[in-house]
């Protein structure tokens, strides 16, 4: 049937295919598990860059030599989209690091595996801040382990305070004081152009960020974004109140009446570290930037100013390590083992060695942190501010709510509408979103 040469060629072809199949076969020597981790800030898991992190990884591998950890960095702007599409496609990571504002969406889509009950008990019995539950607990179960724990406060430049004749150890406490301080701290050149704002506001970028930096003012006036904010299914917007309007109007007055802030300045943290702003509100984790980018700057951290008759309030937020519900039970077991190790009392500070000033999960650890030992007043400020912490709403539509509210309040700040108009329109849109 076949000629001699053809037979030889067919024979060679069969041998080549067989060899490729043998080479391509998986090894049966031992079952290696790969734990895939996605994070936006790879430095806290970059064992090749930090010896302390490498030492913690080595501890884990000593106990579980068959587990390989593969860390992938995903830019923040892409993380939510990439995670959700990866889950939809069935190729999601086993561990992912996300902020708590996204947690409601992920839990609503049944993606998160809660921390085992006995591990949760052990974690809090080791002295972890009980406030951690504000962000990471849902339906009575801890959903993940904390990575970045943030409390928002008023960052202020002490030298600028002194220069303006203000007490550098006493940041403003009330809205009136806040406006007064901001006016005194604002600088202009001979042509009248503002060269330094008393307070830098966040008005550009993702609307959720706009809301995040402003929402503490809303809370201090006794107002929340939605009804039953700490349940997933609130159906009514509740921010269109005199308190809500006052919180929006505060910024409008500072921009147009006091001229102590401006829409022409960059991101508040950039403005603060470049000494273009005397005050700004953001997470305490921003210390990391002050220390590394402006090491000579003398700065303080205080509570968010409140209106007269209002309550102290601030954002308490956490980025957490979460385990995917879609992973196999063996992988989930290894994932929780890994997370338990990197967040225990001994190892947690090592994992955060590249992030000076970050809050540890336990006060006892902070008391031993060289960063806080050198700055006892800072630890005292954080301890003061922490009890005022409010978590972001647990509503599953929080992303869309923030997007809508952020857009309308920014439009009011840009002079396109009054504070009342902005909140009326935002309320109508948010109610439509909640009704969908």
């Amino acid at each position: 049937m076949f000629k001699k040469n053809q037979t030889r060629r067919i024979g060679i072809f069969i041998w080549v295919v067989a060899a490729m199949m043998i080479i391509g076969c998986p090894s049966f020597a031992g079952e290696e598990i790969t734990l895939r981790v996605w994070t936006t800030h790879v430095l806290h898991l970059a064992r090749e860059k930090t010896k302390a992190v490498d030492a913690v990884f080595n501890k884990f591998e000593a106990g579980d030599p068959d587990v390989k950890i593969l860390v992938t960095q995903v830019p923040y702007a892409e993380m939510q989209k990439k995670l959700l599409t990866a889950f939809a496609a069935g190729v999601a990571p086993d561990i992912f690091v996300i902020p708590d504002e996204w947690l409601a969406l992920f839990i609503g889509n049944n993606i998160v595996e809660p921390v085992p009950v006995e591990d949760e008990k052990e974690f809090f019995e080791s002295g972890a801040w009980p406030e951690i539950r504000l962000c990471l607990e849902r339906e009575g179960r801890l959903q993940g382990y904390p990575w970045e724990i943030s409390v928002y406060g008023l960052h202020y430049n002490k030298d600028m305070f002194k220069e303006a004749g203000l007490n550098p150890e006493k940041p403003p406490k009330s809205w009136d004081e806040f406006r007064d301080y901001a006016k005194k701290l604002t600088k202009r050149d001979e042509s009248g152009e503002t060269t330094r704002v008393g307070y830098a506001i966040r008005h550009v970028g993702h609307p959720a960020g706009v809301v995040g930096k402003w929402i503490s003012f809303l809370w201090t006036s006794g107002t929340y974004l939605v009804e039953n904010p700490y349940t997933p299914g609130g159906k009514k917007a509740t921010f269109n109140t005199p308190g809500g309007i006052a919180a929006v109007q505060l910024y409008i007055d500072m921009i147009y009446k006091d001229k102590s802030t401006s829409l022409g300045f960059p991101d508040p943290r950039d403005a603060f570290v470049q000494e273009l702003a005397a005050m700004q509100i953001s997470e305490n984790g921003a210390y990391f930037r002050w220390v590394t980018e402006a090491p000579d700057m003398k700065w303080g951290f205080g509570p968010i100013p409140k209106p007269s008759g209002g309550k102290n309030a601030t954002v308490f937020s956490e980025w957490g390590y979460y385990v995917s519900r879609l992973s196999t039970s063996k992988i989930k077991e290894k994932a929780f083992k890994f997370l338990k190790l990197i967040t225990n009392q001994e190892n947690e500070p090592q994992m955060k060695v590249e992030f000076p000033g970050w809050i540890h999960a336990r006060k006892s650890t902070m008391l031993e942190d060289p960063f806080y030992l050198a700055r006892p007043e800072l630890l005292e400020s954080i301890s003061t501010v922490l009890p005022y912490g409010h978590a972001y709403s647990h509503n599953t539509r929080l992303s869309e709510i923030n997007e809508t509210v952020g857009l309308y309040i920014a439009r009011a700040w840009h002079g396109e509408m009054t504070a009342e108009e902005a909140l009326i329109k935002a309320e109508a849109e948010v109610n439509k979103i909640l009704a969908r």
Binding site: L84, N109, L263
Partner: protein, 300 residues
């Protein structure tokens, strides 16, 4: 050659080989272009959240919602403004540069390179650089304005200036490409027409109007059509420089599709917007061919 007992002619044999060679490309094109296009059309009739197992058929609801969507209307308006200005100004500048570079002078090739360099530089990289140039406090542009004693501007941070700032960047980025196309078109115009016109006493403007413009029409049509298609789909520079802000002053259609799909997970609605955009681009292109195409047929 015989297949199944019947003889195949040489002509048919050539056809068979031809199709065999293009089948792989056709398959790839079908899988990565045609199928996603058809799928996208069909998704527009569903309420499609990628994580939800329930994806109900909603008919034309997504399309009806477009007319009530103020942000979609704004995105469309911004896209049209962007397109009109970029096409008009960009085409005029590109033609002007091509006319200058069509002459013989020293360093001509260097100038060609300088104008073409932005075209080959990655969009994201240059967009980030321009963000810094536009920075109100430290940026080069305000530095120059200050030096000249002129008032500084907010550029990308101003809701009134942000779109124009992105347009200026886009024109700078794309003008070199159209310049090269115009240059090729100019070099295709035979010199004898210009010589004849000179002999008849025509001045440079008359030669430009009577010879250059009409004979350059096919090239101009190509530049306008391709630039229009590209401008209507603007995304990268807006995403990098402003993310559609401040307060959606630079929100454009494709960025809105991206937001609706990937931020709000409403893929059905995003597909409906994409379909509307596709039909709009197709309609505009057909109209351009119809009205400008007639003027492109010039013979002397």
């Amino acid at each position: 050659m015989k297949i199944l007992g019947s003889k195949i002619s040489q002509k048919h044999r050539r056809w068979i080989w031809g199709y065999l060679f293009i089948i792989p490309v056709l398959l790839l094109f079908s899988v990565f272009r045609i199928y996603p296009l058809i799928r996208s059309f069909s998704l527009g009739f569903y309420q499609w959240n990628i994580l939800s197992p329930i994806k109900p058929f909603v008919g034309l609801q997504n399309y009806r919602a477009l007319s009530e969507d103020a942000l979609f209307v704004q995105a469309l308006k911004n896209t049209v403004i962007y397109t009109v200005i970029v096409i008009f100004v960009g085409t005029v500048i590109a033609l002007f540069l091509a006319l200058l570079l069509n002459r013989k002078f020293k360093l001509k090739e260097t100038f060609k390179l300088v104008y073409f360099l932005p075209v080959i530089t990655p969009m994201v990289a240059v967009a980030i650089v321009w963000e810094w140039l536009y920075q109100p406090q430290f940026g080069l542009f305000n530095g120059i304005l200050k030096y000249l004693g002129l008032p500084t501007q907010q550029w990308l941070l101003s809701k009134d200036q942000a779109l124009m700032s992105v347009i200026i960047f886009s024109i700078w980025k794309g003008v070199g490409y159209n310049m090269v196309i115009f240059l090729a078109g100019l070099q295709g115009i035979p010199d004898i027409y210009y010589e004849a016109a000179r002999i008849d006493g025509a001045n440079s403007f008359q030669r430009f109007k009577g010879i250059t413009l009409p004979l350059l029409m096919p090239t101009t049509l190509f530049v306008i059509i391709m630039s229009t298609i590209s401008a209507l789909q603007v995304f990268t520079q807006v995403y990098v420089m402003t993310e559609g802000g401040p307060i959606n002053a630079t929100m454009v259609t494709v960025l809105y599709i991206y937001k609706v799909g990937f931020d709000f997970l409403r893929f059905g609605y995003a597909s409906a917007i994409a379909t509307v955009l596709f039909i709009s681009i197709l309609a505009i292109t057909i109209l351009q061919f119809k009205f400008l195409g007639r003027r492109a047929e010039v013979t002397y």
